[in-house]
Symmetry: C2
Subunit: 308 residues, 2 copies
């Protein structure tokens, strides 16, 4: 089943202990759609500037991603510059230039209208809600957000959460959103805000899936933990969370039925794609995978944590 994703397509300048890259292709929607493209058809809604050229376009095309929803606007694309010199788990932002993204008005191509899966990447919750409402055929809607929206745009974010099936956020964000330090209590509070499932990403320690009581007819209400792969070298953690989301949601969208077992496998595929993302700068690794490599790593993850 096709996924439509709305979010940022950007240029990133990144410095990590492993080196430096200037203006590589980045953005949440980019990482998400590349990761998800190994599992299902992906359609992107975004806005880019005049600096987005054939080379960037080709990255999406090579993975068969539908870019008809990427609007070309006058000006420059979203630009982010950051470093991870002190702590690979925490980016230090040096520059955020929203550029054409500042006045982003998502335009949804008619051909996207039949998408049954919708991913609302981390953007203004007002826009997330607008896209969700414009896609009534979406039967499974997942989304991400960040501390900025939680802190300063909570009412709009709460409206989005009401229409969300799955929220994917990190430890700090779930605690901030719930106002609770204990992870389980925080998860329960967030599930009460609307989403029937919550995925909390723990960076190098994996991720936890919490199901709400009313999990859309799903009997599986249990908590599930997927490990992260201990990596010998984290070259660049940028986009690992978005790649997790792409693997997770891409796998779900590829399944004939969204069962409890599908959710569990999806958590592992999310971790798999997150681990690949860290191995090279920017989207380099996400561009060059094969489904075989992905499934081999899936087996490595199973080995990593299975008893029998």
């Amino acid at each position: 089943m096709a996924i439509t994703v709305v979010g940022s397509v950007a240029f990133d300048s990144i410095e990590t202990p492993a080196g430096k890259r200037e203006r590589c292709l980045g953005g949440a929607a980019t990482y998400f759609s590349l990761a998800a493209s190994y599992f299902t058809n992906v359609r992107v809604i975004a806005v880019v500037g005049e600096d987005f050229g054939k080379r960037q376009e080709a990255v999406f095309e090579a993975r068969g991603i539908d870019t008809r929803g990427i609007e070309r606007a006058k000006g420059k694309s979203f630009f982010w510059e950051g470093s991870y010199m002190d702590d690979l788990n925490q980016a230090k932002t040096h520059i955020t230039d929203l550029n054409v993204f500042a006045s982003f008005e998502p335009k949804i191509p008619e051909v996207y209208g039949d998408s049954e899966f919708l991913f609302l990447a981390n953007i203004d919750p007002v826009l997330q809600r607008r896209v969700r409402e414009a896609m009534p055929k979406a039967r499974l809607v997942a989304g991400d957000t960040m501390n900025y929206w939680i802190k300063d745009h909570k009412p709009a974010l709460l409206e989005v959460l009401k229409g969300l099936d799955i929220l994917l956020i990190n430890d700090t964000e779930v605690r901030m959103l719930a106002g609770k330090d204990n992870l389980v209590q925080a998860a329960r509070a967030v599930l009460a805000m609307g989403p029937s499932s919550l995925v909390v990403k723990h960076g190098e320690y994996g991720a936890t899936l919490f199901h709400g009581a009313a999990a859309k007819g799903e009997p599986q209400k249990q908590t599930f933990r997927a490990p992260a792969l201990p990596l010998d070298e984290v070259v660049d953690p940028t986009g690992a969370g978005d790649s997790f989301a792409g693997g997770f949601f891409g796998y779900l969208a590829s399944q004939p039925e969204i069962t409890a077992a599908a959710y569990r496998n999806a958590m592992f595929y999310g971790s798999v794609m997150g681990s690949f993302a860290c191995e090279r700068f920017g989207t380099e690794r996400m561009q060059q995978l094969s489904r075989e490599e992905i499934d081999q790593r899936f087996e490595l993850f199973r080995e990593l944590t299975h008893l029998d």
Copy 2:
């Protein structure tokens, strides 16, 4: 097979967001031996003061733990006072009174001499080494340490590591000991110091087992991750790491053969005992378990992370 453990038996005054307890029974050897006692016979080597009475003694007796190696000295027992008001993952120490522990000279009862399993809890590495040398029949030796010994007593600690089969420490400690930030690189460096296996405890995120290349005839060289149980309320994290060690090593000692599968199960049993420890103040929960409860929780852990 019997385990001999050497370490602290103490009194702890603890404050957490869940409440306060004055002078409860504590100490690494206490938590370790209570946890391990559900799997195998345990013998303790420690020193206590005149404040250690029948009530404390009874806690060990009720679990069938051999206390003939607990020396009674003139003075007071080791006393620790700490709180976890700001962060349940990090104790804030208010008072550490070594008392009789300051001049601890481990005396090993002759009847302990045939112990094939030895656990060196977190004490002065000079004493750890002395006990190890006095127990030549121990064929599997595990140990713990802490930042203080890593920072200020490294040469003595490195001597201990040479004679250790399994080292159990936490994230911060492994990074400090190796002088490396990356977990995998740090683990490799520590395994090169002597132990054939390394267990790194990640608190609420579980634990990772790394095997060295020369894993005592074991073919299993892979990394293994055990999850932690997301707990609704952490009443008191004191002793969770020592309880993990007790569950882990107690299970290993109970097995007819130390196989790769045994190591994996041991990691889960460690996590199980660590999760119980947090549910009540001090050793309360560790005193009142049944093997049935433990195995039920083991199944819960399996469910938590298994795909099939």
